[in-house]
């Protein structure tokens, strides 16, 4: 190829390069700007509604307290049911499971569980917890359903956190005469704890924002504050949905205020969890 042609080729390539940088960068920018747009819009429309009264009063007085309480209890219940099993399963996959077809099958199932639509979990919860087990529409049914939904996230996050712990720590412990379990319990788990906690918090915060699984298993449009796990509850996401789809849009303020509370809650928790994880992580590897 002659010098001139080579130079022309390079020039063209550079032009294309710059062009594609702009195009792909534009795509990324579009996404980022939409995210900011969403947050901004939420703030603008929702902030005016936020007040102490709004957060702590009952609906009759224009507040959303019962919805916040309901969401809290649903999330707490989800944690109770999903964390022990999920973390144990994560430990199994990382520390005990052999490299066999059976293990691959388990991993495949977990990945598939993560892809099941949330409304299908709702149906499952309805058929099993509400009807078959007879828990009726209640916090218990809702929490169990949400726990099924959250389980794959907990398992995956636990396994990943455990994998990050360097192998030589396990070797050192075994060489000192500790059993496998003692090694996990005293060395590996504590080292992986920040990752596990953060991942679990993130998974639980997503569960708290779900509507479909609790539609027929836990929520009711208007319910008093719960006094037992067998009560129906209100929940923030469901409340937002109901308020927004009423034909006589009475209170857009409540709708946007609740939406802001929900998103702000989820975001703040995510940020705090992520920040704590990066601080704590520094102490595990050097």
């Amino acid at each position: 190829m002659t010098r001139a042609r080579a130079r022309a080729r390079t020039r063209r390539a550079r032009v294309v390069e710059t062009l594609m940088r702009i195009v792909t960068g534009g795509a990324a920018a579009l996404i980022v700007l939409s995210a900011f747009g969403l947050l901004g819009y939420l703030l603008v429309r929702g902030l005016p509604s936020i007040s102490w009264v709004f957060l702590t009063a009952m609906p009759k007085l224009g507040g959303i307290f019962p919805a916040i309480v309901g969401t809290f209890w649903l999330t707490a219940g989800t944690a109770v049911f999903s964390l022990p099993i999920g973390i144990a399963a994560g430990i199994y996959l990382s520390e005990y499971a052999p490299r066999s077809r059976r293990t691959r099958f388990i991993r495949l199932s977990i990945a598939n569980m993560a892809g099941v639509p949330s409304i299908v979990y709702g149906l499952f919860g309805l058929a099993v917890f509400v009807m078959l087990f007879g828990f009726k529409v209640s916090i218990l049914s809702g929490a169990l359903t949400l726990a099924c939904l959250t389980l794959p996230v907990i398992i995956t996050t636990t396994e990943e956190a455990l994998r990050q712990v360097p192998q030589d720590l396990r070797q050192a412990s075994l060489a000192l005469g500790a059993t496998r379990w003692r090694t996990i319990y005293k060395v590996v788990l504590p080292a992986a704890a920040p990752g596990i906690v953060t991942g679990s918090i993130l998974g639980l915060s997503r569960a708290s924002g779900e509507t479909a699984p609790v539609l027929f298993t836990a929520v009711f449009f208007s319910a008093p504050l719960p006094t037992s796990p067998f009560d129906k509850v209100m929940a923030l996401p469901y409340h937002i949905y109901i308020m927004a789809t009423q034909p006589n849009h009475p209170q857009p303020g409540i709708v946007w205020g609740s939406a802001l509370v929900l998103v702000a809650g989820v975001t703040v928790i995510n940020i705090v969890a992520a920040a704590w994880r990066s601080r704590a992580r520094r102490r595990v590897t050097w």
């Binding site: 390539a13 294309v16 594609m20 940088r21 792909t24 960068g25 795509a27 990324a28 579009l30 996404i31 939409s34 995210a35 969403l38 144990a88 399963a89 199994y92 996959l93 005990y96 099958f105 388990i106 495949l108 199932s109 977990i110 990945a111 598939n112 993560a114 892809g115 099941v116 639509p117 949330s118 409304i119 299908v120 979990y121 709702g122 149906l123 499952f124 309805l126 058929a127 099993v128 099924c148 389980l151 059993t179 496998r180 379990w181 997503r206 924002g209 779900e210 509507t211 479909a212 539609l215 996401p237 937002i240 949905y241 927004a244 709708v255 946007w256 929900l262 998103v263 975001t267 995510n270």
Partner: protein, 309 residues
């Protein structure tokens, strides 16, 4: 030195430690199976609850899948849900048409062009987007996207397949971007360096080397994003409009499978035929997303083994 000798065989301590180890191992191993148990249970319970409608002379799988009329309260009732399948296809089609090109392009940018700071910021923002609850996306559809589309295209309604599809695209984007970016990031830097050393620009490296190498991962990300779009309920319930007509028009309203279940389950007689028909829809959804996920898993597993991550 002069130490009395310690026995190598089971002293009391190791006997106890061994017993604990066995107990713990059993408990932990059994929890490993929970995912399989639940997944199987979902399939079973969906199946048993769908069975009355599937086996009923009035309904039956073939008539339901191909029927175009859904008259649940008529006598005899009809449960054809083909229009709803088409609705799902419409909104998912719009969502993917938007999310796939933009998502892959953004992933290329983040993986191949962006500096470290931009990379970190972008990834955090995308994580944020993934964490936003679906109802809130639904709100944005109803109050922002829908009216905008209506005005721009001079439509009669703000709640259409198009509006819902656009919002769904935003929900699928985080999945597509992060998994594609992971796949591109996983391509060994030797290949990248080799290409650059030959005089290729970053863009040429990206489309000639990186994207093909990460191909299976990108494919998987699209599969998973599609699964999310198909399975999404609240957005389509609030934004898609809810028509029962069989139409392919994007500017008409739509009633995807998920929306049918969500809107009707509250009013059915539990245990009745209508109830069972909704479970048939649920089963259909389960099968479709299961297939998409399986395809994605197998492909991702192959990619992982290739680069031995």
């Amino acid at each position: 030195m002069g130490e009395p000798r310690r026995k190598l065989t089971g002293s009391g301590r190791t006997g106890r430690a061994r017993a604990t180890e066995t107990v713990v191992r059993t408990i932990i191993a059994s929890s490993g199976w929970v995912a399989i148990v639940i997944l199987t249970a979902i399939a079973i319970f969906l199946g048993t609850n769908a069975w009355p409608a599937l086996s009923s002379p009035v309904a039956g799988l073939w008539r339901m899948l191909t029927g175009t009329a859904w008259y649940s309260t008529a006598t005899p009732p009809e449960f054809g849900f083909l229009p709803y399948i088409v609705s799902t296809l419409r909104v998912t089609g719009v969502a993917l048409a938007i999310a796939v090109p933009i998502g892959i392009a953004a992933a290329v940018f983040i993986s191949e062009f962006a500096g470290r700071r931009i990379k970190e910021i972008s990834k955090s923002i995308i994580e944020f987007m993934a964490a936003v609850p679906s109802v809130v996306y639904g709100l944005m559809g109803v109050y922002v996207v829908g009216p905008a589309v209506k005005d721009l295209l001079h439509l009669t309604s703000a709640l259409t397949a198009l509006s819902a599809g656009i919002v769904l695209a935003f929900m699928a984007l985080p999945t597509i971007v992060s998994i594609s970016e992971d796949a591109m990031h996983a391509v060994p830097s030797d290949l990248r360096m080799g290409s650059l050393a030959l005089g290729n620009t970053r863009w040429q490296t990206a489309y000639k080397v990186i994207v093909p190498a990460a191909g299976s991962g990108i494919f998987a990300s699209v599969m998973l994003g599609m699964g999310r779009a198909i399975g999404e309920t609240m957005v389509v319930l609030m934004v898609a409009g809810g028509t029962m007509d069989l139409t392919w028009s994007l500017t008409a309203s739509a009633r995807p499978l998920t929306a049918v279940i969500a809107s009707e389950m509250g009013e059915v007689v539990q245990g009745g035929l209508h109830y069972s028909a909704l479970f048939v829809i649920g089963l259909t959804l389960f099968v479709i997303t299961f297939a998409a996920n399986l395809a994605a898993d197998l492909v991702l597993e192959r990619q992982r083994r290739r680069w031995r991550r």
